[in-house]
Structures are given as C-alpha cells and as structure tokens.
Symmetry: C2
Subunit: 457 residues, 2 copies
C-alpha cells in the first residue's frame, strides 16, 4: 500500500539503523581473499595490523558475520548529520515526462560534502579506541580527506592527508576546509616518502593518482609511531560502514511502501554503491527480490567496463596487499578528469565479484555527458551535484527516459553522493566548452595490463 | 512536557506552514512608512509598481493583514528543500560545558547555501504570475544572487545580477554557480548603468557595496521591458517570506515541548532575523511570552549599534524610496569584510522600529572574534558556517558561556543562515593571521551621517 510520499523523507532517530550490514555474509561465492605479495598467500590479521587498527582488521577479514553493531560514540556522531533524506524527485520526473518514480538518497548535507563521513567516523573511532594518536590517508577530489579531517577533529586525532596533486591544484579551497578541521595536507606525489620520490623521479610533472597517494599514506603510517593508515573506499570495512546508506534507504522504502526496481550508483572504488545496494543485494542474492543494479563509471577510468578481473595491488607503489578485482592495472594513471573521486584504477573486490557473477551491470559515460546531466539536475532539483554523483544522475535520467519510451512506471533509486561546491572549476570548463572527453586507447590499456603482477596462477 | 529531543528535528510536510506571518500586524506602533523622495510623502502602490511586481507591492505596504497564504507553486518548491532542520546542538553544549540548551535552525542545505531561497522563490513566482520575463537584483556575498538564479531557473525567468565587486573578486566560483542556473552576473559598480558610471567616476578602484549594486539593479529594471527589480533583504515583503523560518521553528518547539528564552540572529539587512523571530516576537508584543532577541552585526558595518535612526535611501545612488531605519548613511562603504552579506548601510525598517522601541537588543563583533567561533563550531557541529551566520554563533556561544557562569539552563535559539563553502578565502586569511579588524572611526561615521537626506523634519 503506497502512502503519500513527501519530497524529502527522513527516518526518525528511532528508525535509524543500529548495526551495519556485511553484504559478504549473503554471498555464497565469496570475494577472493587479499594476498600477501611476499608469500602470495591470503593475508592474515597479523599481516594487516601494522597498517590498520585491530577492529578494522577484523571487519576487513570477516565475510560471515551479517550485522556489526555500531558503537554508541559512532551513533552519537551519525545523528549529528544523519539520517540523510530519501528524496522523491517529483520535479525531475515531471521535467522528463517519465512514468518512472525517481528517488535519490542525498548524502551531501554535511561539511565533507559526501557520504565519506560515514566511514571516516567509524575508522577514526576505532583508531582512538585503540589508543592511536595519528592517522594518514589519501584523498582524490578531497571529500574523503575532508570527511576524515572532520572525524579526527571529533575524536582528537592528528591527521596527514596526501591529496592527489591534480585535485590539490584544481581545488585550492579544499585544503583550507581540511585545515579548518586541523589536518595537514600534502600534494601527492611528494618528496616526503620513498614512494613519492620514486614516482616523481619517473615523472616529475605527474598530476598524481589515488594509487600514488595511497602508497605515500601507507608508507607514512607504517614508518610512524602510534599511526595507522585509513582508506575511504575499496576495502570491505568501508563498504560495511557505508551500508548505513542502503539500510536507511531500505527502512525508508518500507515506511513509504515502495521498493526499487533499479538501483544506480557511481563507482570509483565502490564505497557508495556498495553501501547503497547492501540490503537490496541481500534480497537479490536470497531470491527475495530482483532489483537491477547499475554501476556507473567515467569513460576515462573504466575499471569495470574495460578492466581485467585479476589480482592487483591497491596502490601504484606496489606496497599494499593484492586484491582480486576489476582493474586497469595499478600503474594506470587516468587522463585528468574532474570527477577526482572516480580516478582509481581498481574496484572494490566485493563489487568486482558481484559484477563478475552477473549481479551488477556497469556502464561508463564521458565527462561532458555527465555535466549535461549535472546542470539539468541542478536547475530542476536545486542541488548542485558533485561530478562523481552526476554519473549516477546521467544513468538515472537515461533510464527514466527509457521508461518514458516503454511506458513502464519503474521505481528508480540512485545515490546522490555529494555536492559540487568545490568543483566549480570543472563546471566552468564545461560552460566554456573546454572540457575534454579523453578516454584511454586499447593500446594504453593493454600496456597497463601487461604490468599486472604475475602471481603464477 | 519535554520529549526526547533528536539532534535534528524535521517537521513533516503536513506540519509545514501554509501561510507567511506578517509581523507588522502585531505591532501597535507600526514602522514609519517609506517616503517618495520627490514628494517626501508616503510611497503609494503606484509609486512602487514600476519597481516591484503588483502582488509584492501589496505585501510591502500591508501592515495589518496577519497571514498571507502561500501559493501552491511556492509550496511545491519549498518542499524540494524544506523543512530545514531545527538542530539541538548537543555536542556544542557538551563542549562548552553549559547548562543551556542550544538550538539552531539550519538554512544552508540548498544550493544557494542560505535562507535566501525562501524569498527568491516567492518573488520569482509573483513576477512570473504577472507575465514578466526578466528580473534584476544585487548580491553581496552571492547567496542571494544564487538563490534568485535558482528560483528564476525554476520559473523560466531571465535574471541579471549585479554582484558587489569585492565579493565578485573574492569568490570567483560564486558566479559560476549562478551561471549554472542561467543568470548573467555583472561586477558592480559597472559601466552598464548611469549609477554605476557615476560611482566609478568618483572612485574607480572602489570594491563596491550593496548600496551601489542596488542602484544599478533598480536602474536596469526601470529602464528595461517586462522587467522588475527584486531585493533579498531589508524590505517588508522579504521579512514576510522569511517568516517561514520562524514559523517552522515555532511549530517544531511546540512538537518538542520547549520555547526559546533567547533568540539570536545575524543582521545585515535583517531578512533572516526578521523571519526567525516573527512568531516569537508576536508572542512578545502580545505579552504571551518574553524571549530576549539579539541582533548581531559586524563591527565594520554597525548600523544598529552605531547608526542613526533616520530616513535614508536604500541605495547609494539615491534612486530608491527613503526608509526610516537605523543607518550609517547611504554613502557609507564599509571596510572590506568577508561577511559580504552584512555589508549594508541600513537595517530593515521593521527591525529598526522594534530595536528603537526596545524589543530587540543589538551587539557587534569584530571579524576575528567571529571566525574564532566559526572554526570552533565547525569542528564540533561538522557544519562549515558562512561568515554571516558565524556572527550569531559567536553570540550564542557567549550567551551559553554566560549561562555556565550563572548556572541557568536557558533555551537558546539561533539562526544558522548558511554555509561557508564559498568563503574559504576568508578562512584562509584567518588561518594565516592576515584578517583585519578594521572598524569605522567616529569621524568616519559623522561624515557619513552628515550626508543623510534632509527631509525637513
């Protein structure tokens, strides 16, 4: 029974999830384990403890526990900015003339400007609980770095952020926001690490990549006292924390009396999409429902649509464990692309496995197509979307227009991960007709694949 | 009976106000009428119609009707981004160690980044309903211009924005946001109007002011076809529209079972504060409750705390009607100040009258004091506040600390009007210790007062 659905639906505090959902527990065919690059054997908790704090190691490796209770201090911070609204895009539906019902989960209403804060708070909390004093991380577009800076300010931790140099230069104010929360921000590659110096030696003018920045942040963490590294995407633990997005959606749909036929999310490392789909994919894996899921990525960094499903390093410097994932090769550095948060060579092993097994579809869009959708959306829905999020908007609009052709009143849910306030330089390029749509050639991809680690399998 | 109060309280769509409240109706002593500068007689509807559209003229002049029903198309757009949350700042209370209960009404969760959208939608709607095709306006910090650009995009109106040159240069991305919504943005003073050319002739290097920009926008409107001028603050009609803020608060406090002892808002032209206090001031005027109200302004532009209560022009070019208000003189141009939205020489006639009659207190803060509070607040509440809003934060923190001294558990409500994403240049100055606290000297103010219009009274 469908109720009268408001434009913005908020759960009450009582209705908010009290535990994260571990999607791996519902997968009969689990993602392949990460490998220790020295032994080529599955990583152990002992392997990971120098890098991650203990509870996060447990969450990373546990693929059978279904729910992880959310500690009270994390719930206390979640409620400062959550629940995020589930928005019924009545105006967009009307503008498109589609019979489809379009919903989006908007995660941009906090200063980090994105969903990243959900995992940042969790990771900072566990670090503090373990008695650590310092964290390191990388950031692309800057949303993750900002989120972690916020979380570290809340728990009284020091933070060093390695920010992809291209974004650092394109978004000068991002570092000032991180500064507001007391973080140190270093453009990557930098001369502060061996990994950074090696990359600079090879290409002094590189604009960097998430892979490079990860290498530097990990090196810094393992060579510092009381310090650990944290990552804003890709990892199982991050998808676990981000399940809060999907769980809130799931509860909201129950309250509203609807259920998505189609779930769409942008995918860089996979944290947003993995979190958004978690309870719905459980239903799908358990044959209780059959929503279509579409991962949307930039044509400039098409790990799912053009990558290989193979073991690869998570970083450019080849110092992390290897993960089985769709990858463009850890040496791949995408063309400058303003969706900085999607410039990662690989994809979450969980999503990679689901894609490989046919539970998820994927598609890619060129930048200008994405900005077309961003501007259309902003004018109609009065939210200025981040370029990353706009990939999902593009796909949602296309699917809604398809419904218009077929006359199907499908229920579409997409993740609006964040706002574009710090992406105005990219919007300006778009307005001025100077935005490029460079995509890698097959030869470039083949060259990157040739450097995939040989694990003798 | 006090209920368990969530961090963020949202009204349901059913609980949202369906009419604006006209605070003037509760004032026994009405604000003095605006005067036609040519006749020195109260302005008539006929005087105002060349400048404002007809329904807004009616709202501007009506000081007896208590409620104005909100037209459905406006309600339809309000619900895209409203209700705004009433936030109980538990974390801030804890950090301050105060027995006070601190609430804030957060209006920053829309792309304009502020409460300005509430009136922009109303003004654009009435213009469209009257068959106009084009609007002009001025903007200081850029929030009003962005809000009106959003509203004009929704109703299909053209828009020209005169943006104070200082802000235009400090905030290059602001104009790109307005561009997203299809607006034309011109740095003011400009050579596109007689008023602008005259000001430039006198001071070619001026960084401009809201007063200058108003002159240009009004001139452009009255010399163009099917075009009217709209203003984001000061006017009675704007306070009327902004009453949605206070009405939502009032209803939320009823739901929660609390009532503010103290209401605090930043005051530039007065739109936010006037809207926030509307129903509470009604209670005060009708002796049903007695909340203290504090208007907070920048020491660099202290219209209430150091201005004169006198008839003055609303613009620098002296082409608007004259209003009885607290003013620094329409020729006063404040020192560059990063709270661009508070750089106005006058104050809403409604608030001026209430202040004059002792219903409102006022205080001013220097810029660095305000940014101290902004950064403290951001770290604790995870919202990056606009410099304008941070004036209210400063006062709220000071009042909460006073409660700590006295042990009083007062209920404090303040208006958090917007976000500071486009104010990072100012934050950077603050971090670098380069922010100045220039305030006008008495001699400077006397010189400005000397140029107040002589109305022979």
């Amino acid at each position: 029974m469908m109720k009268n659905i408001p434009y913005r639906f908020y759960l009450t505090e009582e209705q908010m999830p009290k535990a994260w959902y571990n999607l791996r527990s519902a997968m009969k065919d689990k993602p392949d384990p990460m490998l220790n690059p020295a032994t080529l054997k599955p990583v152990t908790a002992d392997d990971l403890r120098p890098v991650f704090c203990d509870e996060l190691v447990r969450q990373e490796l546990d693929d059978s526990t279904d729910y992880f209770p959310i500690p009270q201090p994390i719930l206390d911070l979640y409620r400062v900015y959550r629940p995020s609204p589930l928005i019924r895009a009545y105006n967009l539906e009307k503008a498109l003339g589609t019979p489809a019902k379009i919903y989006y989960k908007f995660e941009g209403n906090n200063t980090s400007g994105s969903h990243k804060l959900n995992s940042a708070i969790a990771q900072a909390y566990y670090a503090k609980a373990q008695g650590l004093t310092t964290l390191t991380t990388e950031t692309g577009a800057g949303q993750w770095g900002t989120a972690l800076a916020e979380a570290c300010a809340s728990f009284g931790l020091d933070l060093t952020v390695y920010m992809v140099k291209g974004s650092y230069n394109q978004k000068p104010y991002r570092k000032d926001v991180m500064h507001t929360f007391g973080a140190e921000v270093i453009a990557s590659p930098s001369d502060t690490t061996n990994a950074g110096r090696a990359i600079l030696a090879g290409d002094p003018d590189t604009s960097g990549s998430l892979g490079c920045a990860i290498s530097e942040a990990v090196e810094k963490a393992v060579t510092s006292e009381n310090c650990r590294y944290v990552l804003g995407s890709v990892l199982n633990q991050v998808l676990l924390h981000q399940s809060i997005i999907g769980l809130e959606c799931y509860e909201a749909f129950q309250q509203i009396g609807d259920y998505p036929d189609l779930i769409i999310g942008c995918a860089g490392g996979g944290s947003n999409l993995g979190g958004l789909i978690a309870p719905f994919m459980r239903d799908k894996l358990q044959n209780k429902a059959d929503p279509r899921v579409i991962a949307v990525e930039p044509a400039s960094c098409p790990s799912l649509t053009r990558g290989r499903y193979a073991y690869d390093f998570c970083d450019t410097g080849r110092i992390t464990p290897m993960a089985k994932m769709y990858t463009l090769g850890c040496g791949f550095i995408p063309a400058p692309n303003h969706a900085g948060g999607l410039r990662y060579h690989g994809m979450s092993p969980v999503l990679s496995k689901l894609y490989h097994d046919g539970y998820i579809e994927a598609r890619s869009y060129k930048q200008t197509e994405v900005f077309d959708a961003a501007v259309q959306f902003a004018r109609i829905e009065t939210i200025l979307p981040a370029p990353e999020s706009s990939h999902a908007i593009r796909a949602a609009i296309d699917e809604a227009l398809r419904c218009k052709e077929t006359g199907e009143a499908k229920t579409i849910l997409f993740g609006l991960t964040g706002t574009g306030y710090f992406d105005m330089a990219a919007y300006t390029l778009y307005y001025d007709g100077k935005m490029t749509d460079r995509v890698p050639t097959d030869a470039e991809l083949e060259a990157a694949f040739a450097k995939l680690p040989d694990i003798g399998a």
